[in-house]
Each structure stands twice: as structure tokens, then as C-alpha cells.
């Protein structure tokens, strides 16, 4: 394998050299295009500085930090129950999924395990937040590529899922429903039937998006072969989630990891794609959404009765130790490295968010593409600004 590190390392020098080359050989002048931080394509405040030769990118680098909220520092001054409401806001589209790994890490340190019913509900809500997140991605993808309709369809159908999350947890975007040792509350009556109906709608939404976008020849020509990430590069950069699976790595933390969650109680498939291009990444996400609806459907029927909260003391002190728990979040591997000192709050929390790794590949990936492909590639890598900057 080539020294990719070096290549990326020298990106700045390369840009200078590219300028010089352009000026000497072609007698043209490069142009620096600043995309963002306020730009329609950066859903959030990501800034991309691109050096262009015509419409071709010579060198591009994202500059993040416009939304850095310092959660790792903030967790150090908060107690364990107070942290969940913070981490909700990391990936704000799939917020319930952010809570789970943190709570699991705290539970691991305490040696507590949530009751089975709580595990089922957690898993269902986890998958619902994945659906809410990825369905918006599928719609947003259209906007990035110039199709305006999919995003409205996505907002329409995501609303059903958000309504479900809200009626169960009370929070539309920030559920804060997980507690160490279980859940805050049980599900309200009628929720299961409602969820089944919504899952049906979401499946038809997936079909609609497939017809509207994925089957569209224009969409395919825009995404196929654009932004190819080979398998070994994906691993080196620590890509995760659909980005990794689209590069042909069959790895899903929901399946390949033992956690007190109940994904293994459902029958579902981990989709991979050998191409590693933008289309593959989008397609894997589409299939994932479908699988998620299947998981939810199966688990809904299997929820056992019982309590949703294990016996934990009212004032939670987590024993000394270190724990790493990561889960397969909508955006990829989201993990918390929690260090406790037996105090009320964590001593240090390292938040390993998926988008940070996923987007760190862009300087490597954006070389030599056209300006429209910047948008395609960023859209297909799928990041949430809060998840990059934390």
C-alpha cells in the first residue's frame, strides 16, 4: 500500500506546487473557492476551501470547528445522568442513538444491565432514530444533486417517525430517554400498533426514493464511480457505518459485537457493496433503512413484559474504571471512552463520533474531482456537523 498518509500530509505543499505547475505549463491561474461555512450544500457550518483549475479541484480541505461545543469538556463538569441530554445533541438527527453507547458504557462500569424489556425498547428506538436520520439523508441527497422533491417526501415521512419518538419519549429531537439501568418510562398504550403502521409507510417511502432517485439514470451517472474509497483506505481512515460497508467491508457493530441490546433477536441482513463509490454509499444506506424497518417490525412483536428499569441507586456513582462502548449509529461507529473515578460524574469522556473520521478522508478524496462532485461526495459521505465538531 502506498503511503497515503504522506500524500495527504503534503496536501498544502501539493496545492502550491499545483499552482506553480498551472502557471508554468498552462499559463492559467488557479482559483480558490471558499465553500461555506454558510452554503446550501454544507447542511451545517462546514467550510471547504478548494483550489480550482477551471472546475476541477486541485486540492480541497474542509475546515471545521464552526460548531464546536466542547462536549468532552462539558461532560467533565456534569453528573452521569446529566450527560445523556448533552450527547443527544451530537448527531441531532438520530439523537436517541447517541445516548445508548454512553449509557451502555456507564452500565458496563457499574456492572448493571437493563431489563430485557428495556433492551427491546432501546433497540427499537435506536432503529427508529436510524430511520429518522437516514430517511432525511435520502431526501437531502436529492437536494444536493439538484432534485428538489425527495427532500419533501423525506420530511413528510420522517415526521411519522419523529411523532413516534416524541410520543414515547417526550422529545422530538432530544429524547433523553435512556437512564443508567434502563429507561425513563415504559411505552404509552397503542404505540406498538402505531409503529407498525409507520414502518409500512417508511418502506413505501424507501420504494419511492428508489424510483425517484436511485433508479434515475441521471442520479446514477452523477454518483457511480465518483469518490471511490478502496477498502484499505477506508479502514485506515477509520470510516464506519455505511461508508465502510460500501467499500466492501462486511462489518456491522450491531451484529459483530456483544452488547446488551437485542439486534440478534431479529432476522436481518448487513448490506455491503463492492464499489466504494458514492452510489454504493447511498445505496447501502437505503437498504439499511429497509432493514431497520424490518428489525423494528420483528422486535415489536417480541417485546417481553416486565420492568424497564433495573435497581440502581438514586444517586449514581460509577465505580472506578475505563470502558469503551461503541454502537452502529446512523452515521457510523459512535463510541464513548468513559473514564470514571468513582465520582458522580465522568472523569473523562472521549467521544468518538462517526462523522469526524468519515469526513477526515475528504482531502484525500476530493482531489481531482469537479466542483459538482464535491457536493456529491460530501452528501454521500453523510456527515452531521454536530457529529464532526462535537
Amino acid at each position: 500500500m502506498t503511503m497515503l498518509g504522506d500524500r495527504q500530509q503534503l496536501s498544502y505543499i501539493a496545492s502550491q506546487a499545483a499552482d506553480a505547475r498551472l502557471n508554468l505549463e498552462l499559463e492559467t491561474e488557479g482559483m480558490t473557492l471558499n465553500i461555506g461555512p454558510q452554503h446550501p450544500a454544507t447542511h451545517g457550518t462546514l467550510r471547504i476551501i478548494a483550489r480550482l483549475d477551471g472546475e476541477q479541484v486541485v486540492w480541497a480541505e474542509p475546515a471545521c470547528g464552526y460548531m464546536h461545543r466542547g462536549y468532552e469538556k462539558l461532560t467533565e463538569v456534569r453528573t452521569f445522568p446529566q450527560v445523556t441530554t448533552l450527547v443527544n445533541r451530537i448527531d441531532w438527527l438520530g439523537s436517541f442513538a447517541n445516548e445508548v453507547p454512553f449509557i451502555l458504557a456507564a452500565e458496563k462500569l457499574m456492572g448493571v444491565e437493563a431489563p430485557t424489556r428495556a433492551q427491546y425498547i432501546r433497540t427499537i428506538l435506536f432503529e427508529l432514530s436510524r430511520i429518522a436520520n437516514v430517511s432525511l439523508f435520502l431526501g437531502d441527497l436529492g437536494v444536493q444533486l439538484g432534485a428538489i422533491t425527495p427532500v419533501f417526501l423525506a420530511f413528510r415521512d420522517r415526521e411519522y417517525v419523529l411523532n413516534l419518538i416524541e410520543s414515547a419519549t417526550g422529545g422530538r429531537f432530544h429524547p433523553n430517554f435512556d437512564r443508567i439501568g434502563g429507561l425513563k418510562d415504559d411505552l404509552p398504550a397503542g404505540w406498538i400498533d402505531e409503529t407498525r403502521a409507520v414502518m409500512k409507510k417508511l418502506r413505501s417511502f424507501c420504494d419511492q426514493i428508489e424510483d425517484l432517485l436511485f433508479g434515475n439514470e441521471i442520479f446514477q451517472s452523477r454518483t457511480r464511480g465518483i469518490g471511490v474509497i478502496p477498502r484499505d483506505v477506508a479502514l485506515q481512515y477509520g470510516l464506519s457505518g455505511a461508508n465502510l460497508r460500501a467499500s466492501g467491508v462486511d462489518w456491522d457493530l450491531r451484529r459483530d459485537q456483544t452488547l446488551p441490546m437485542v439486534w440478534n433477536k431479529a432476522d436481518w441482513k448487513v448490506w455491503t457493496h463492492p464499489d466504494g463509490d458514492s452510489f454504493a454509499r447511498c445505496w447501502v444506506r437505503l437498504q439499511e433503512t429497509r432493514e431497520s424497518t424490518k428489525i423494528v417490525d420483528q422486535l415489536l412483536g417480541a417485546i417481553p413484559s416486565g420492568p424497564v428499569m433495573a435497581k440502581v441507586p438514586k444517586i449514581i456513582k460509577v465505580p472506578e474504571g475505563e470502558a469503551w462502548v461503541s454502537t452502529e449509529n446512523p452515521l457510523g461507529e459512535m463510541g464513548y471512552y468513559v473514564v470514571s473515578r468513582g465520582d458522580l460524574g465522568p472523569f473523562r469522556v472521549k467521544i468518538r463520533s462517526a462523522s469526524f473520521n468519515n469526513i477526515s478522508i475528504t482531502p484525500w478524496l476530493l482531489r481531482g474531482v469537479y466542483v459538482p462532485d464535491i457536493v456529491t461526495i460530501l452528501a454521500s459521505l453523510y456527515f452531521i456537523l454536530g457529529d464532526i465538531d462535537r
Binding site: 441530554t85 424489556r117 416524541e166 410520543s167 422529545g171 398504550a189 425517484l212 434515475n216 417485546i303 413484559s305
Partner: protein, 162 residues
């Protein structure tokens, strides 16, 4: 499936939605004219039941954002029983929640040991001025009227603890 080109299928989806919207109506709500009812559990605004509050400061201390301000003083109240010693009670002077800071996490409602704080699904209290988002105890008490009953639980749930 390969027979119908994707370009045509896409047109079919938009046309289908056009007809569906014409026949079944849209999925949007014309907000100021019609409103959606938020679910019972919605965390809209925190209501304060003043009589239950003992000014124990628990909510203020467990608030991650430091947005609950409580001031109280002690007073002697007439005894409960005839001839008993006069009781000491805490009287609430100030109970403010700064909704400009609040993260709507609900920890205060949960930790309250005396059932003095409740969630209400009301959401229409935006203000043009940020300082008006500081709700004092009178305003917080007014929200009490809007607090709904807790919802029934799904089959198989343990009976409610609290």
C-alpha cells in the same frame, strides 16, 4: 423491473404524489389556523405546582444548565394538630426557570421528590425578547392547567412506580 427506465419511474412518483395530494389532502398543517396536538409526554414547558414545592433545591442542583433559580425562606406555620408545636415551613420567594438556557432534559421534573414539577405539552410561548423567557413562579404555575394526565402504558409494562 429493468423494463421501465428510471427516468420514467421518477416522473411516476411525482405525478402519483400530485394526485394523492389532490385527493387525500396534504401532509402539512396550516399552522396558525389549525394545530397539531402534541403527544401527552411532549416536553413543552415545565409547570410548577407551588403548594407541593418545599424549596428543597434538588431541581436547581441537578439542572445541567443551571437555569433554575430558587429563593426561599423559613416561616412558622400553625401546627397541624390542635395544641402541637408550630411547624417550620419553607416559603418560596422565587422560582424562575430560564427557558433561554433550558435544554428540556426533564431531569428537574424527574428528581422532584414532592411532585411539584410537571411537563406540559404547551409550546407557544416564544418571546421577541430573550429576557422574557425567564418564567417566574406565577407564570410557571399558570402552566399547571395545561398538564395532562400521564398516558396509559403499553401492554406488558410494569405498573407505574410513581
Amino acid at each position: 423491473m429493468a423494463k421501465v427506465p428510471g427516468l420514467v419511474k421518477g416522473l411516476g412518483v411525482t405525478l402519483g404524489t400530485l394526485f394523492k395530494t389532490t385527493v387525500n389532502g396534504s401532509n402539512t398543517v396550516q399552522y396558525p389556523h389549525e394545530k397539531e396536538t402534541p403527544p401527552i409526554r411532549s416536553r413543552g414547558v415545565i409547570a410548577l405546582h407551588q403548594d407541593n414545592c418545599t424549596s428543597c433545591m434538588l431541581c436547581s442542583r441537578s439542572c445541567p444548565d443551571w437555569c433554575i433559580y430558587i429563593e426561599a425562606h423559613k416561616e412558622l406555620a400553625p401546627p397541624r394538630r390542635e395544641g402541637g408545636k408550630p411547624r417550620q415551613v419553607n416559603l418560596l420567594d422565587r422560582f424562575d426557570i430560564d427557558y433561554a438556557l433550558c435544554m428540556y432534559c426533564g431531569i428537574c421534573v424527574e428528581v422532584c421528590p414532592f411532585d411539584a414539577l410537571f411537563w406540559s405539552p404547551e409550546y407557544e410561548y416564544s418571546e421577541p425578547n430573550i429576557s422574557d423567557l425567564l418564567h417566574d413562579k406565577t407564570k410557571l404555575s399558570e402552566w399547571m392547567e395545561t398538564v395532562p394526565e400521564a398516558p396509559e402504558l403499553e401492554a406488558g409494562a410494569d405498573k407505574k412506580k410513581k
